[in-house]
Amino acid sequence: MLFGQSDHMNSVGEGCTDLKREYDQCFNRWFAEKFLKGDRSGDPCTEMFKKYQHCVQKAIKEKDIPIDGVEFMGPNKDKP
């Protein structure tokens, strides 16, 4: 059974796509094999995520994408 493959998707920062795909593969494996099975052992993808993030945040600044930082309204909050 095949699923959709976000690890074949591009990053908003063109130069970040390889880092993104590496991270996605790590995350998808952890998500399916650990997290959903109730295994609370640590996320093995943190280092990969840091590298990927560093690249993405730079791209977001360069492209002036109005992110307002990572904190924003959640499902139960009202729009400011």
Partner: protein, 177 residues
């Protein structure tokens, strides 16, 4: 303001559906999402996984509209917050556009849950609140947006687990506005 909602049933258990939903993009049936990035991910004290993602989309606008707006304005961005609760078996996604906000506001909420009567089946509830700024175009544009969202949702519900077959049961129905 237009509120639109729909419900869809997948003939697969919840874990299967959300694994596919988490990896939803790209899908050849929805070329408009061209980029996905994870901005943050963390576990809360209750053990739920929070993800904040940035999606970039390319509107499939007709040529004349692109000519009027300028092609640089067809790339739009959406931010999405999702919460996966592996114990309660819910996955909730909330998204809102962060560009074109002076023209339109599209807030979407999706919830995946096991069907109350059948644990091998998953129900997706999708709702959107669309607010168009500006008076004269609002009713027309809201109607168009709602129609488009409705069509996309029907496609989207088919896309979410890309090759996971689903069946829209006659009892689930679509709740339209």
């Amino acid at each position: 303001m237009k509120i639109w909602s729909t419900e869809h049933v997948f003939s697969y258990p919840w874990e299967t559906v959300i694994k596919a939903a988490m990896r939803k993009y790209p899908n050849p049936m929805n070329p408009s999402v061209v980029g996905v990035d994870v901005l943050d991910r963390n576990l809360d004290p209750e053990g739920r996984l929070h993800s904040h993602r940035l999606l970039s989309t390319e509107w499939g606008l007709p040529g004349i509209v692109r000519a009027i707006m300028g092609t640089s304005h067809t790339r739009t961005y959406v931010k999405e917050h999702s919460i996966v609760d592996p114990e309660e078996k819910t996955m909730e996604l909330c998204s809102t556009n962060i560009t074109l906000t002076n023209l339109v506001s599209v807030d979407e909420r999706l919830v995946y849950r096991p069907h109350p009567d059948n644990p091998d089946v998953t129900v997706l509830t999708q709702e959107a609140i669309i607010t168009v700024k500006g008076v004269s175009l609002s009713s027309y544009l809201e109607g168009m947006m709602a129609l488009r969202m409705s069509a996309n949702a029907r496609k989207s519900a088919g896309r979410t687990p890309r090759t996971v077959e689903h069946r829209q049961t006659t009892s689930s129905g679509n709740i339209g506005n």
